[in-house]
Symmetry: D2
Subunit: 416 residues, 4 copies
């Protein structure tokens, strides 16, 4: 069984359980969840799906396993299958538009939903996913298997950097993944990288940082994502406070607008089943459809934002390294209240700030370890001062508000 | 004003009218129309939009104009703008899923809808599109401008081959477009190619042919497209014959299910306005949303097909060079009538044949002309017998019918 | 042990004998033999060596073996090593400038020299190359091993097409080698390709044909190669007829100028040892050095040609599909005899014709076989008429003669 | 007039003087000067020439000029031609093997030789290069023209990073040059980069740093280059101290072995003419030829080193961040004196240390300036603390000495 991927070419798929899971509707749904959400309003070619990302991460996992097995690391066939399943399903709990709507439809981290779905699948598949779940939860002794799935240098990151770089055309994010894979090794059940690969790891960390600021936290993309958030908040407000019925919205979207769930609710068996049922019914296409309905609504604020996303008429966005003054924000809200003749509450949905932080390398997480050779100590990459391992957090503040047509040209580096 | 494109890098956009049209909702809609429709069920990375294709074709047009101007061909600024607008809007009349649904929602060629939309835009923009429309309709004396937009070697084809090859990962479709562009020239108002570029043109024609059989007419993609067609036919049948109301479908989709239009209707001003209004409301996301509703319907045939597309459980598809025997088809229909307990009419939607033809080069269209140098005759490329210019039409027949799970693995070269 | 290759990334080398052979001076010499000879005068980036080509072909062999082993084909470790050695050494008998000087220094096909060198190495390595030699000579029962080394779809061709396309920048020659490799299989000890790969094979054959006419038989490259041939003929003539001593030339080059050898001479043990000693002393750098000496010589014809290569002042070259008229040639010789005041003999070295033929696919060689599935017959690719398998030989005639400065610009498509 | 380049595709060449210079033997010689010298012993595909690098840099210059002209910067046709000539000839004074032999054949920086050759060409071309020379010497008022040729972000660096990355296969060195070019601008006659390009510039600086440590200062490449240096030193020593005649060496190489020149000598007209005559006679092929002669010499040390380069049997090389102890070095020399039975002087040629420093960004040179928009101040890139602009010099020490066969495998990351 093979699949064509434009990054890696022909990918072989063998393990039958992996194939069965690929064909499952839960996984096929990821075809309709875009990997980068509304970033495609900034980078028009970035329309790739979470489906292709996950298959790509699976490919990298297969390659990593080959390298480790070749170097004599013991990984049983069952463990190989399990770690492949773990990477395949790691994102199955992603909301529509991926991160844009995470915590917005329901207040639960996508990994927790992934776990809930994996456990449901485990029941369907007669317990055959147990080992995969154990690895995914980092409860398995060979912790390098977990690290391959989730860590500061895992197959997920390797694929998404490469893939997002490829589809956005931001060349700076390209990572020499082949070389990194070749340099992987295991010492004391921990994933390590051979010293010869240190420049490739450094380049990976830098690429990740550049992708954050040029893509993931690009001001126009952040603005679009926040507009979407405000749309849902406003729609929920109209539903719960103003008696709006939203009868023409997709049923499962209604479910999340009229109810608010958090991680606690997943522990209740019945509630959980309902939540997962409606959750897996939703993908990007429901949200796009909802936006069209919202764009026709009589609520000026809701219609303005929904139409703005559909027609790519984004709010003007300023970005700076320190927070915006309260006065400046209040002033903008006042202006817009008058301009649109709307309530204070509504104005907050049109004029708002948001803050995002990123660090290239996190000292509080499991370090990336460098292997210096047999009988030599394994050391964290930060021991090499000459390398650009930047653990400092960088914070940026964004301020968004309605703009006039003239503003458009001046402000967006990537206009379309 | 620049835009990042993963194929061409940074694209400059200057002409203000081009920019205004780009920002128009009619054009922004193309972001939600996939370039290859359901081919993404075969090639999972082929999620690119008609929006990015059109911007790419615009880029190639800009480059072609530079080459021709450098070679001393007279093209006025107004003509340059017009031909850019013509290429920008050439696909604005595409249905959701591009070719998959062409002639299915309404019985009109996408170019005719493009023209109708261009004329409507021309009114909005005070006649500033008149020259572009003249070129697009091939009514302008300098016919090479039309040939750049639409011909056997136009900017549209150059971009879509490259782009579809890039996003599917089918390397065979890649075209050396830079070299072809450099070789363009104009003789007697006709577009010609310098002799030095003859191998590049040959390669372009071969690449196109390979893309047809490996991508555009790939049996799994054809099957998925036909399933979608049958879904709409069935939904329309249920609406018009069985009193199904389809109240939860998008309003504009209802409009096309309950009414059937053809090109003639575009000549009636009021009708045309309504058609275009509803048409421009629709994109892929409405169809995906409709599929979810259809998948819940009590009509077995409709639900089966809709679910099949959503979960990528495609019909089994056979492909051969001659037509399938009537007996074979009837037999399969009988089996499925019994298996699903459905009517003969419904069985036709589950078991069906379709035929597709392709020719690499069409002798009935304007020839690709080769330029041998000053004072030498311009000759059609087919004069060079050693080149693989293949004007013969190749026809393939497809037969689709419900399959069992086991069939799946055996038959699809590109499974996912 | 790994090596970086710009086409394939990181290549692993494991078998110790393969590594030992890589380090042998006979093999290291290939670093100084350019893959495409004087084609670099046409395509300035095509400076890659036969060394990197051979390592690349070795990589493809390793990948092909993995595919076949995965599909259950029995290939013992000894056979794997042997076929890797066979591909590694298949070009070890190449002359300086590869094909440009084949048969010119000595009248022996490069494969025969390769065999002689392999046999010499076999003695040095205590018989450990015997199996490799058996495979290389097609004397081993599992003939697919030979076919992987030498056939119409072997690892040699796959690498050189890709590599030459990559380094020349002639995109049309790029081949989707990954897909072809994945489709390899073995039936009755013959190498076959699964049906799903038929378009990739067709594309490979077309790419090869385009590379022939755009690169290998490009008129400026052919001209430069012929000029080099004429230089050596003239130098040999001066040595044997005019008493020129050539004392400053590299000793091993003198050896081949003053003696003429053919394949028969390799059967004489002493002669063979001497021939191989001098042969392995020579590489491109000796010829370049010799050209500098020739360029200073008092023989006008020799100096003209040598200087022409060094300074890229090539003869004017005409190319056509039929032979040039005797009158035209004689006339040009007469003109140049007068212009340069040289003998008739010398004029033949300045005005000459050459003919080259190419066929994309050779019906007289072992066919490329297509595998239709278990229990189905294996059929030659030419059975599919719709594919562009072009077995017809195409012949081109070249006429070269001294040109004036003005001619330069008009005639060379790729000037530099 | 066009040329194919595998990086940039088809390059147009128009200005007639640029073409004439391209055809000049001084420039054609660069075809036989490898861009990376003996780095090809580490990265076998890095066989590209300084010729192709220079043509590439010329291409980037043409593109940069287009961008600046489009933005309204005044650059006259004469200035355009001059800056193109300046970049074309900036490396014309490179020694064989580029940097490996710089200061070794003669003690003069390659730029000074470039200037001397440009001045000689200026005489031949009747003063038509005067403006180019003025720019090259930074004596022209519009200093951005100089900065395009030589600066911390010039066309030379942009091309060599891209090109060296491409040919070595070290992906980390790839630079998004298109985006950088688009962001160039001029303020107060200084070259600046628009703020939107700041990440691309950062990436460029990081890529450069990674290329230094992975390619230019790779320990095996440094070792090979130093071995070559020691070969020449030893040959010169044998010539001047031991009466070795070196009659079979290329005459122009003899000239530099028996005489030592420095920059001062270029000011003497006759001396200069002789130096330039012999200098332009030499290229890589002379050195390779000389190595073959040296490898046969009776001086053990010379033969050992020359053979080591020819057969890629490099010295063992250690690399560290601090200097090697005198004792360690002396001990190794003693061991090798005994092993080879050679003099102390010779032992120094077999056991030696070398030190290399690199800084990604040099605070002492003209800063890279960032442009924040009209009426806003231009600021140096180092003002942005969050970016990885690393001005600290990193120093590495290398120790090379004869190794045994076993050492080989263990030590070289990139073996071949």
């Amino acid at each position: 069984m093979i699949v064509n991927d434009t990054l890696y070419g022909v990918i072989d798929l063998r393990e039958s359980l992996v194939l069965e899971l690929l064909e499952h509707p839960y996984f096929q749904r990821l075809r309709r969840v875009s990997q980068l959400g509304l970033v495609q309003l900034v980078y028009p070619t970035a329309t790739h799906s979470r489906f292709s990302h996950t298959v790509g991460a699976l490919y990298l996992m297969q390659e990593a396993l080959k390298v480790l097995l070749d170097k004599g690391i013991a990984i049983s066939p069952a463990e190989q299958e399990a770690v492949c399943i773990a990477i395949l399903l790691h994102d199955v709990g992603h909301s529509p538009f991926s991160h844009s709507l995470e915590f917005k439809l329901l207040d639960i981290h996508h990994e927790e939903i992934s776990i809930a779905l994996m456990e449901q699948l485990n029941e369907q598949f007669g317990g055959r996913l147990s080992l995969a779940i154990q690895i995914f939860k980092n409860q398995y002794p060979k912790k390098f298997l977990y690290q391959l799935v989730s860590g500061q240098l895992d197959m997920d990151r390797l694929d998404y950097l490469n893939r997002d770089s490829y589809f956005t055309g931001v060349r700076e994010g390209k990572v020499g993944y082949e070389r990194i894979l070749k340099m992987l090794y295991v010492v004391d059940d921990s994933l390590v990288v051979e010293f010869k690969g240190i420049y490739s790891v450094e380049n990976f960390l830098i690429a990740r940082r550049l992708m954050y600021w040029q893509v993931y936290l690009h001001k126009a993309g952040i603005c679009a994502g926040e507009m979407l958030t405000k749309v849902l908040e406003r729609a929920r407000y109209l539903a719960t406070q103003k008696g709006e019925k939203w009868e023409h919205l997709p049923v499962s979207l209604q479910y999340f607008l009229f109810n608010q769930f958090n991680a606690q609710d997943l522990t209740d068996k019945t509630k959980s089943a309902n939540i997962l049922l409606h959750f897996t019914n939703l993908d990007d296409t429901d949200i796009w459809y909802a936006l069209k309905i919202f764009a026709q609504n009589s609520d000026i604020c809701l219609a303005y934002l929904a139409k703005g996303i559909l027609e790519r008429k984004l709010l003007k966005t300023e970005q700076q390294n320190h927070s915006f003054s309260r006065d400046h924000i209040e002033n903008l809200r006042l202006i817009n209240r008058q301009k649109f003749n709307i309530s204070e509450q509504a104005a907050k949905n049109l004029v708002f700030t948001v803050k995002h932080a990123n660090r290239a390398y996190n000292l509080n997480q499991q370090a990336i370890l460098i292997y210096l050779g047999k009988d030599k100590a394994v050391r964290p990459i930060t021991d090499w001062k000459e390398h650009n391992i930047q653990p400092k957090e960088v914070v940026k503040y964004y301020l968004c508000y309605p703009k006039t047509a003239q503003d458009l040209a001046e402000n967006d580096p990537n206009f379309l």
